[in-house]
Every structure is written in C-alpha cells, then in structure tokens.
Assembly symmetry: C3
Homo-oligomer: 207 residues x 3
Amino acid sequence: MTAIETIMRTSPVIPVLVMDDVAHAVPVAEALVAGGLKVLEVTLRTAGALDVIRAMSSVPGAIVGAGTVLNLRDMDAAIAHGAQFIVAPGLTESLAHAARDREIPFLPGIATASDLMRGLDLGLNRFKFFPAEAAGGLKALKALAGPFYSARFCPTGGITQASAPQWLADPAVLCVGGSWLVGKAVPDIAAIRAAAEAAAALPRASA
Amino acid sequence: MTAIETIMRTSPVIPVLVMDDVAHAVPVAEALVAGGLKVLEVTLRTAGALDVIRAMSSVPGAIVGAGTVLNLRDMDAAIAHGAQFIVAPGLTESLAHAARDREIPFLPGIATASDLMRGLDLGLNRFKFFPAEAAGGLKALKALAGPFYSARFCPTGGITQASAPQWLADPAVLCVGGSWLVGKAVPDIAAIRAAAEAAAALPRASA
Amino acid sequence: MTAIETIMRTSPVIPVLVMDDVAHAVPVAEALVAGGLKVLEVTLRTAGALDVIRAMSSVPGAIVGAGTVLNLRDMDAAIAHGAQFIVAPGLTESLAHAARDREIPFLPGIATASDLMRGLDLGLNRFKFFPAEAAGGLKALKALAGPFYSARFCPTGGITQASAPQWLADPAVLCVGGSWLVGKAVPDIAAIRAAAEAAAALPRASA
C-alpha cells in the first residue's frame, strides 16, 4: 500500500478547501477532523492558501495537503509550509518526477486513457479523476477503469453529498473530493462539523 | 497583455472559415470586417486555404490568421502567406516552441487539465477550448477554469449565435470561435455582413 | 494503405474479447470467423489472455491481435504469443516508437485533439476513439474529425449492435470495436456465431 493509498483510504471524502483567511483555518480544520474527515486538501487558489496549510497542520489528527499544484514552485512552497501530500488537476512528467524525488505522496488528475498510460509509465496508479462530472461522469470513469484495472481513483469536481454514494459504490473509487463541506462565506463551524459527519459516514465499496 | 490576448479581445467572435475558392476571399473578408469582425481564422482544411489567407490579408483592417495548424510545415506555410496568428486544435510541445521562436501569436486547443498544465509549463495561458460543445460544454470549461484561474479561453466547436451569449457571460471567456457566419455554398455577402454585425454586438463579461 | 488500415477494413466490427479460459479460445474464434468476423482483439486483462491469443491464432482465417496493451512489456509478450496487431487504450510516445521499431500494426486510442496531433507527429493517422460513448459519443468524434480530416477511426467503448450503424455511417469510421459479441459466462457458440453474422452484415459508409 503506497502512502497516497493510505491517505485515500482514510475517509470516503477529502474536503477540497478554497480558503483565503488564515483566521478561519484552525476552527474549520478542527470541525472537519472532529466530524471524521482527517485528510484536508487546501487548494493554492488564494493568496492565503500557504498560511492556511501551515495553520491547519497544527490541528491534532489533521493530514493536510495542497491542491491545485500546477508546477514545481507550487509544490516546493506547499511542502515548505507543511503539506503532507500534493494534488494536481492534471498530470505532467515534470511534476511526477519532482514528487518522486521529494518522496511526497502525489495524486495527479487524469481525464483520458493517454493520461493514464503516461501515469503508469511514471510509476503511478492512484489518480484524481478530474473534472469528474464534466469529464463524462461515472460512465466515463467506469469505461476508463476497464482497461486500467489496477488503477484506483479519487473523482473530484461537481460531486455532492447526494451524488457521492454512486461514485463510492464503484470498486475503483477509493474516495471522492468534495467542495461542498465548506462554503465561501464566513464559516459556520457547527454546519461544517455536521457536513463532515455525514460525509464520513458514506459507505464505499472499496473500504 | 500578450499579442494573442489583444487578438482575442478585438471582437466577441472569431469567424472560423473553411474556404477553398480564392475568388470569394476578398468579398467575404470585406463583409466580415465591415460587419465588425476584424479577426479572421482561415482553416488549413482546403487546397486553397493559403491563397485565401494571402488574399484576405489585403483587406484593410483585417487581422488574418491560420487555423487547423497541425505541425511546423503548416505553421511556416501560413506565416509565409501572411498569417498574423496561429490556431491549432490541440497542443504539442513542438508547435508551442516553434510559435515562440517565430514570435507569432499562438492559440492552441486544450480539452483537459493535463493539456492546460503542459500549456502553462510552455509559458502559455490563452487557449482555445476545443471541441467546446462536444468536450463537455460550458460546464466542463467552468470546471477547468477553477484551478486554472489565470487562463483565458476562446471556446470553439458547435457554438452558434444563439448559444454564444452563455459562453461569453463567463469571465474566463474572452471570445468564441464561430463557424456559423459563412456557409459552405456560394457566399451571400449581405447575409455574411448581417451575421457579422449580430455577432460583433454580442456582449461579453470579460470586455 | 497501411497494414493497420487493411485490418480495420476487414470487417465492420472488431470483437473485443475479455477471456481467461483457454479451453474456450478455439471454439469462440471459430464461431466468430465462421460468422464473418476474422479480426479478433484479445484484451490483456486476464491471466489467460496470452494463451488465448496463441490458441486463437491457430484458427484458419483468424487475424488475432492484442488489446489493452499498456507498455512495452505487454507489447513484446503479445507479439511473442502470436499477436498480429496491437491495440492500446491511449497513446504514448514510447509505445508508438516501439510499434514502429517492431513493424507491427498499431491502433492507439485517442480522445482529444492533443492526442491526435501527437499521433500525427508520430506518423500515425489511424486511431481507436476511446471510450467512444463516454468521451462524448459520435458528436465528439465528428467534431474531432473536422480538423483531422486525414485520420480514420475505430470507435470502441459502449457501442452495441443497435448503435453501431450510426457510427459506421460516418465516413471517418472504418470499423467499431464491440464487446457485445461474447458474454462473460460460458460461451454459447451458436449465439456467438449468430451475433458475428449480424455484426458482419452491418453497412459502413467507408466500405
């Protein structure tokens, strides 16, 4: 079991967080962890994201990674701020090599069979399927999983608490990425904890 | 603002032209320019396309580029015939390097997050989204634009005067490619000018 | 006409076979060939697949290839067991180079314009379109075939006897891959022969 697989099997949903204000980082991470979601992906889409990674990493039990990692500069900044894993929307050879050299768990996005073949050639077989709903949905993932029977996936993009069960019922799906857990407004900590508890309770075929 | 961005911001629609008969080139280009569409993409899908590029380039105000550029041979032939920008359906490293070396504005097509990451690595952040309707439509473009927040797009493929407003309302969309302006029959110059005027009047969020 | 084109033009449907038990290989291949389908793709998704390739290759008239070829190791094993052509779900440069070096007919999968441009750069212009239904269906193939007017396709993935005619009516489609001919249960030889006869009788625009 590779390190990225351990992370993917920790809970059925990985919250995908777009947060700018570091003041909310610790209470949000505490609510997600208390609700049962320990693995947290903080996307590098905001000026404050790196500080949010550092702050969330101080929460006991949290396993904090960086998402929207597009290049080596992003990767190294995320690692310097405490990221324990790296998620990218797509796959490039340069980023895959860098993740291997840095020995950091890496979850690159794929959307096509050519992406998957390149990933296997790079020694990877755990992938984000992105954008999950817009790239053909579960039908497309099942079609891709046929020839790539050794690959396992974290579909992300457009999935909700309501649609997650269909995805998690597929044996090739280890977890899903979810952006529904934390809204864009000032965070409602009680609501986040309740959403995390509901997400953490989702059954999955691969568990 | 890069040169390709200037071209993308010139008008809300770039006519995508499949023309073989050079005799129609000047009147069609004049009608489009008079209607308000100065940027014209002539696709290299016909034997006469290079001559059409040269002829249309003589029309005052026209900014004529080549589309369906698949390789360096196409690119150099298009430049030799006066093309002022280059559009490709997809992205290859060799073509991106060649465009940079020739200092010609370049708009490559992307359809996946891996395409976009490779594009960013090559120093590009303005892209054609192709085939726009068939590759998941506006839902797919919005999903891709999330992590690639600095990229801007010219969706092309299956878009019409009726569907263009939805695309142009997205702030990541600078313009759309349109093949509806000029039919395959002997061109009706008055109809082309009217279609160009309607297209040039389309509002866009990015303007 | 390249060798892969000869194979693609042999019959309108290439059966895509997922078989593990070599005991069924000869009777199934005999039924398919007797029904009019000589070209057989055996996918490397089972422990017994290589033995199935060898056994089916002994059937007079059968042209047996390997599918789900993901890397050079798969390719060389398939060739060593008698495979006369190689099908891959996607396209990598390494596999395309290896096929050329080994002078074996090669049908790689594509799903995007970037895949197609890379394929053309590698000297290829015959492709599997995969996963055909999930990657946007016939609408997507038509959109891709526009700029890639010299390319020809074998759409595969989700196609049935009922939907095959629409695909085969497109002039860019030389044949389709079909997994509906042989079920997963113990093969019913008479049913397979009947299904092959129906598939072999499908009209195609490119014939």
